[in-house]
Every structure is written in structure tokens, then in C-alpha cells.
Symmetry: C2
Subunit: 209 residues, 2 copies
DNA sequence: TGCCCTATCAACCAAATGGTTGATAAGAGG
DNA sequence: CCTCTTATCAACCATTTGGTTGATAGGGCA
């Protein structure tokens, strides 16, 4: 019995690569494709109405106009097939966002074909698959407590990233310089850094801004 | 007559995809593969000694331990086959670095198969190929009064973006704090800003880092 | 040869930033 | 009711950063 899947990736080359890999294994069949999240939802609805819904969806993250996270959330909430995220990005925020959006598995694109094959079968069967590296990142996150910045702190961080001085931040946010400094101290301690530049770097990496 | 090429990419899936694409066109044949720059140089030397040197090399950039830029430079300087860079990254610094390293063409991985095919033939024939988007980025760079930072200044900027203090920058770059400050002042004036945070913002926007 | 650019370092001063303590007030939650 | 979080502000001090001036040295170019 073969497993039928749908590919969602904005790179034709990657889609061709996955198809080539699956063809060589012979127990996985690609029955649908899409090049972004919105198209994925359309196509999925069509094939589902035809009675040929895929057993799993392989989803990239970085796509325009609708990215993989949003598409994954939509599919999962609609009770669609299980989603295996296959991407190049391994930042904490990407991984966590994908898991929270309901992704069943998360694999990196540098994975060897055999591993991709196994992960697809696992996903179709409803089993979770996280590559070792991904698992490590998730454990790291649990070890270190969540960033959990307040809305006001995020606002300040956004303005901070534009290169504003404390005085300018005070004006922009209609507060005193003293308050700006207080917020900054809180942000630093929450992000585990000790200056504004590092804060921006960490915030960017965590996709907080 | 078929064109013979070598693939250098750390993702097995992408290599499979490229092979699948070229198989369908039938006038391009993949005769060698490597998964990073160092391996690429090894393999290239082997096949060249066998008298079966490829007509072109397709090279990814982000690879460990030796990246595509260094490999490209080595191949070009040794009078090897022409290199077509095929990558996901479109920052000014990547593009300029690749061109300076002697790459004949620069294509993004989201290019349609036909475009990849044409670019490979062009590269093998010694013609330059830049995808429209890449050309635009290069023109942008020429249009805007060239930030024109020195290599050392770029290096410093990269380290700066991680949130390092002047003292840490000095250690990382093996120079004194005084020198760090001198570089920073130059960077600020070239980018038209007056503090490190703004410098990073502008540099990011200009895709210098 | 002389000039400019890059890269390096030093000393000095003013301004910005970071760190601390302490305070007020509103709202959420046990 | 009490506590915690968030948001606001003040004063103080140490450290960092920014700005300036000046100096040395090598490479490239006219």
C-alpha cells in the first residue's frame, strides 16, 4: 500500500527533488503540489472534494504570500491531513510556532533521503517526528524560561531596533527617559543580555520583532 | 551534444531535484556531486585528472566546513570550469562576494526549472547570467551612493550586529578598542547615522549583513 | 615621488547608556 | 485583602559609547 502526499514548497527544484526521492522509494506517491500556503489550502480543498485527500502534507515555512505556519494552522484546525514541516530554518521561534500551529513533524532540508522517507511514513501514520537537532532546540527552550515580554516592552523593542536613543524613545512613546531605562532593564533581564544591541539581536532571532 | 556539470550543495534533496530537472531536459548531464566546498575541490581534481572535467559547476553558498564563496574563488583561480551560484540568499554582500570570487552567474533557488536549465547552458558557454532580482539588487547598490564600506568595516559590522561591546569587538577582531572606535566612526559617517544600533538597522536594510 | 585610502593605536572629554534603589498607581488573580 | 505584574517616574553613579585630534605604516595610483 502506498502513502499519498501533498508537497508545499515555493522552490520548484525542491519539489522536484522530493518527488525524485519518493519515486525511488516507491511506497510514497505525490498526488498534489502547491507553491505557497494559500494555494495549498485551495488545492487541498479540491482534492479532498474529489475524494483523494493526501495521507500527509509536506510543508515549507518561508513562503509568500501565505507562509507555512498559517497554512499549517488552517489545515490542522479544519481537521485536514497531518503536516510534516520540512524547512531550512531551525530558529526557536520557527520550531515553536510550527508545533503550536499543529505540525506533527519537523525536519530540516539537509536531512538524508532515507530520513525524509521515514518521517513521511511516520507522519501519515499519525506519529510525531522531530529530527535530533530540532529536539535539542526544543529542549533548550524548555530549559530556559520563555521570554514573555509585556506588550509595552515589545513596543519599545520595535522602536529600539530603528536605532533610537533613550531620549528619542521617550519622545516616541510619550514617557520619560527614566521609564525607558526601566523598561530596558526589564527587557535585558528577560532576554538574558546586557545591552540594547544584543537585545535586538536576540529579539530578532526569536522573531519577537 | 550534452553539457556536463558538477553539483555542489549540502542538501541531498536539492541535488536530487536538480538532477531530476536536468534529466527531463536531456541536454545536461550531472557527472559529479559534492556536499561542501572542500569536497567539491577534491572531486573536481579527481574528475579533471580522469579527463572528464565538467563544463560548469553549480554551487550553493551556505555550506560547512568550506562555503561556496571560498570554493568558487579556489576553482576560478585554478582556471577551473565556470561557476553558477544557485542559492537562497539574495543579500548584497552575498551577491557581491560571489561575483568578486569569480562566479559567472547567480541564480536563486526559487527559479523555475526552465530558467535554471538556460542558466546552466549559458554558464557552460561562458556567458554571464544574473536573475532579474539579482540584477536589481546589484543596480540598487550602484544607484544608492555606494555605502562602500571596506572589508574590515563589514567584518566589524557583522560582529557588531551580534551585540558585542567595543571591548568584545576588539578581542574578536584582534585589535585595540581605539581601533574599534575609529572603524565605528567611519562606519557611522558612511552610513549616515550616529550610533551602533542605527548602523545595524541601516546595514540590514541595505542587505550589507 | 607624493597623495589617498585603509588599518592600526593613543589620549582626552562629553554624552549616552547601564545598574541600582526606591516610589506611586492601576489592574489581575488567588 | 494581599500579592504580583505592568507601567510610570526620580536620583545617583559607574561604565560605555561617541567625537576629536593626532600619529604611524603599508598599498595603490597618478
Amino acid at each position: 500500500m502506498t502513502v499519498s502526499i501533498m508537497l508545499v514548497d515555493d522552490h520548484p527544484i525542491v519539489r522536484a527533488g522530493l518527488k525524485a526521492v519518493f519515486t525511488s522509494f516507491e511506497d510514497i506517491e505525490v498526488i498534489a503540489e502547491a507553491s505557497d500556503g494559500a494555494e495549498a489550502l485551495d488545492v487541498l480543498q479540491q482534492v479532498t472534494q474529489n475524494g483523494t485527500a493526501p495521507d500527509a502534507v509536506i510543508m515549507d515555512l518561508q513562503m509568500k504570500p501565505m507562509n507555512g505556519i498559517e497554512a499549517c494552522r488552517a489545515i490542522t484546525q479544519a481537521g485536514g491531513p497531518p503536516v510534516l514541516v520540512l524547512t531550512t530554518f531551525d530558529t526557536q521561534s520557527d520550531i515553536v510556532a510550527a508545533v503550536e500551529a499543529g505540525a506533527l513533524g519537523y525536519l530540516l532540508k539537509d536531512a538524508p533521503p532515507q530520513q525524509v522517507h521515514d518521517a513521511v511514513l511516520a507522519t501519515a501514520a499519525g506519529r510525531r517526528t522531530l529530527s535530533p537537532h530540532i529536539t535539542e532546540v526544543l529542549l533548550d527552550r524548555m530549559r530556559t524560561p520563555a521570554p514573555d515580554l509585556s506588550p509595552r516592552e515589545i513596543e519599545l523593542l520595535q522602536a529600539l531596533a530603528t536605532g533610537a536613543t533613550n531620549k528619542q524613545l521617550a519622545k516616541q512613546l510619550f514617557i520619560s527617559e527614566a521609564t525607558v531605562k526601566t523598561h530596558l532593564v526589564h527587557i535585558y533581564s528577560k532576554l538574558g543580555v546586557d545591552n540594547r544591541t544584543a537585545a535586538i539581536g536576540v529579539a530578532r532571532e526569536m522573531r519577537l520583532i
